[in-house]
C-alpha cells in the first residue's frame, strides 16, 4: 500500500534520509515516533508529495506522490502540526472544500463535530487553536481518504478531546483506511495503535505490530534496582523501577510506548536482533 525504497533526502546539503526503506499495509493505525529533528514531518511531506526525494521511489497505492495528481490527493489527507483555517464556520468550510473529496461523508462530519462539541455554525475565527484543530481533525476523518497523515494531532487538545479523538479513531480503524500518526505524546495514542514505527537519524529503526511488541517485550515495575542481566532498559520513577525485558512467559503487564521508545532508541541493534530471533523462532 505504502512503499518507500532507497529514499535519499537532504535539506540544503544536510542529509536527513540516506536509503530509507519501509512499507505499510493498506489499513490500520500506525504510530510514528522519533526524537525532535528525526524527520517525522519531512517524511509526511515526502509521503504527501509536498517534498520531492533526491533519490528513491515512493509509491502509495501504486501512485507517485510527487505528481500530485488529483486522484492521489483525493485519497490522502494530511493534518499538519501548524495550520490556518479561514474565518468561516465548519459548515461553510465543508461546503467550500468537501466537493474536492469524493468520499466525503457529511453525516460523519456532523457526528465528529458533535463528538468534539463544536458548533457547526460558529465562525472558526473566534475559536481557540484547539477548537480549530478539532474541526480540521473532524474534516480529515470525514473525508474518508485511504491514507490520513496526522502530525501531532493531540497537541492543543484538552483532556476530554483527546479521549474523543481516540474514540473516533478507533471507531474508524476497522475500515480500509490507513492512519499514520506522528506524535511525541506517546501515551495519548498507545491504546489505539496497531503498529509502531520509530525513526532515528534518518533510519526506520523499529517497525513492528503491537502484537509483536507485546509478544516480545514485557514491562514490570519493581521496588529495587534491577540486575542488569537480561534487562533491555530500566528507568527509575515514582513507585520504583520500570524494567523492560524479553518476554518469557505470560506476564500480565501493560505496554508503555514511552518506555518502548526509550528502549529502542537506547540500543536499536539489540532490539532488532531480539525481534528477528523471536520472529524466526515463531516461524520454526
Amino acid at each position: 500500500m505504502i512503499s518507500l525504497q532507497n529514499i535519499f533526502f537532504s535539506y540544503s546539503g544536510k542529509s536527513l534520509f540516506s536509503g530509507l526503506e519501509f512499507s505499510l499495509p493498506a489499513s490500520g493505525i500506525c504510530g510514528l515516533l522519533g526524537k525532535n529533528g528525526a524527520g517525522k514531518t519531512t517524511l509526511f511531506k515526502l509521503l504527501s508529495g509536498l517534498l520531492f526525494p533526491n533519490q528513491g521511489s515512493i509509491r502509495i497505492r501504486g501512485q507517485s506522490p510527487g505528481r500530485r495528481a488529483p486522484g492521489f490527493l483525493q485519497e490522502l489527507f494530511m493534518v499538519p502540526e501548524e495550520f490556518r483555517l479561514p474565518p468561516v464556520s465548519p459548515l461553510q468550510y465543508q461546503r467550500l472544500f468537501a466537493p474536492f473529496y469524493p468520499g466525503f461523508d457529511s453525516k460523519r462530519f456532523a457526528a465528529c463535530l458533535e463528538e468534539f462539541e463544536l458548533d457547526p455554525r460558529s465562525n472558526l475565527a473566534g475559536c481557540s487553536f484547539g477548537q480549530r484543530k478539532k474541526c480540521l481533525l473532524a474534516f480529515s476523518l470525514a473525508a474518508n481518504c485511504a491514507v490520513t497523515l496526522l502530525d501531532e494531532p493531540t497537541n492543543a487538545l484538552d483532556i476530554p478531546s483527546k479521549t474523543q479523538f481516540r474514540r473516533l479513531l478507533v471507531s474508524m480503524s476497522s475500515e480500509e483506511r490507513l492512519f499514520i500518526i506522528a506524535s511525541h505524546q506517546a501515551r495519548d495514542l498507545e491504546e489505539c495503535l496497531h503498529r509502531v514505527l520509530i525513526l532515528d537519524s534518518g533510519r526506520m529503526i523499529f517497525h513492528h505490530s503491537m502484537e509483536a511488541v507485546k509478544a516480545c517485550l514485557s514491562t514490570v515495575l519493581q521496588d529495587e534496582a534491577p540486575d542488569p542481566k537480561g534487562v533491555l532498559f530500566s528507568e527509575a520513577g515514582r513507585g520504583g523501577y520500570r524494567v523492560v525485558r524479553e518476554r518469557t512467559g505470560r506476564e500480565e503487564d501493560s505496554l508503555d510506548l514511552e518506555l518502548l521508545f526509550n528502549t529502542v532508541i537506547q540500543d536499536p541493534e539489540t532490539i532488532a536482533d531480539l525481534f528477528r530471533r523471536r520472529s524466526s523462532d515463531h516461524a520454526d
Partner: protein, 259 residues
C-alpha cells in the same frame, strides 16, 4: 484508488469560487477604499473641468493599477509556509490550479471591475448631479479604448502572474524591476547587434542617425522598414507569445514548488 487525473472544469470553477468566498471581506474593503478615492476625483473633476470620457480613463487606471496589484498577490497563499501546504494538497491538478488563478486575475477581475465601476459611475454621477447640477458621461464598458485596455492588461498581467509564483515577497516590485532589467538587457543587446552586424546596411537610415547623431528624436520619425519589422515582431511577441509562455512557466514553476 480512483485515478482522477483528467482536467475537470468544475474544479477550476470551484477553486475560483472558494477564493472569492474566502476573500470577500478583503475584496469589499479594498473596493470601497478605491471607490472613495475615485469619488473624490470624480467630484473634483465635475467641479473644475467636467472632462468627457473621465470614467473610461479612470477605469483604465483601476484596471492596470488594481489588476497588476491583485495579480502580484495572487499566489500569496502558496508562499505562506502554512497555507501553501493546504493549497498544494487540495485535490485539483496543477493545470486546474494554475488556470483558476489565470482566470481570477484576467476574466474574473476584468468582468468584476467593469461591473463594479459601472455601478460606481452611476453613484458618482448621481452625486455630481445632486451637488453641482452637472455630470460626466456614465462609464461605458464597451468603449473601444476600454476594450483595448482590457486586452493590453490581459497580455501584460501574464509576466506579473509569473512574478507572483516566482517571488515569495515584494512580487510586484521585483517583477517590475525584472521587466525593466530585461528590457534594458534586450535593448542593449539589440543595439549592440545592430551596431556590429547591420551598421553598413543602415547607411542613410533614421535609425543610424538615432544611434550615432545628436538629432535622435527626429530620427525616430524616419524609421526604416527594418525598424518597422522589429516593432512588428515585438507586437507579435507581446500579444501572442508572451502571455501563453508566462502562463506555461507559471505551471512549470508550480510543478516544482515544494512546501
Amino acid at each position: 484508488m480512483p485515478i482522477d487525473s483528467s482536467f475537470q472544469a468544475w474544479r477550476v470553477l470551484w477553486l475560483i469560487r472558494s477564493v472569492l468566498v474566502l476573500q470577500r471581506t478583503s475584496i469589499a474593503v479594498q473596493a470601497s477604499a478605491a471607490a472613495g478615492i475615485l469619488l473624490l476625483l470624480s467630484l473634483a473633476d465635475a467641479l473644475f473641468l467636467c472632462r468627457p470620457g473621465l470614467h473610461q480613463h479612470l477605469y483604465l487606471v483601476v484596471l492596470f493599477a488594481g489588476g497588476l496589484l491583485v495579480t502580484s498577490r495572487s499566489f500569496k497563499d502558496l508562499h505562506d509556509p502554512v497555507q501553501g501546504t493546504f493549497w498544494l494538497l487540495l485535490p485539483a491538478s496543477l493545470p486546474e490550479k494554475t488556470l483558476s488563478r489565470i482566470l481570477l486575475t484576467t476574466i474574473v477581475f476584468v468582468a468584476g471591475s467593469m461591473l463594479g465601476y459601472w455601478v460606481f459611475s452611476l453613484l458618482a454621477e448621481g452625486c455630481n448631479w445632486l451637488i453641482f447640477q452637472r455630470r460626466h458621461d456614465l462609464f461605458f464598458p464597451f468603449a473601444p479604448e476600454v476594450l483595448k485596455g482590457t486586452l493590453t492588461y490581459t497580455a501584460l498581467q501574464a509576466p506579473f502572474l509569473l512574478g507572483a509564483v516566482t517571488f515569495r515577497r515584494h512580487a510586484l516590485s521585483k517583477t517590475v524591476l525584472s521587466l525593466l532589467g530585461l528590457a534594458l538587457l534586450l535593448s542593449l543587446a539589440g543595439l549592440l547587434g545592430l551596431r556590429l552586424l547591420f551598421w553598413d546596411q543602415l547607411e542613410g537610415s533614421g535609425l543610424r542617425a538615432l544611434l550615432a547623431g545628436p538629432e535622435s528624436r527626429l530620427a525616430w520619425m524616419h524609421l526604416t522598414e527594418a525598424g518597422r519589422t522589429v516593432a512588428g515582431i515585438g507586437r507579435i511577441v507581446f500579444w501572442l507569445f508572451m502571455p501563453p509562455a508566462c502562463w506555461f512557466l507559471c505551471w512549470m514553476r508550480l510543478k516544482k514548488t515544494s512546501a
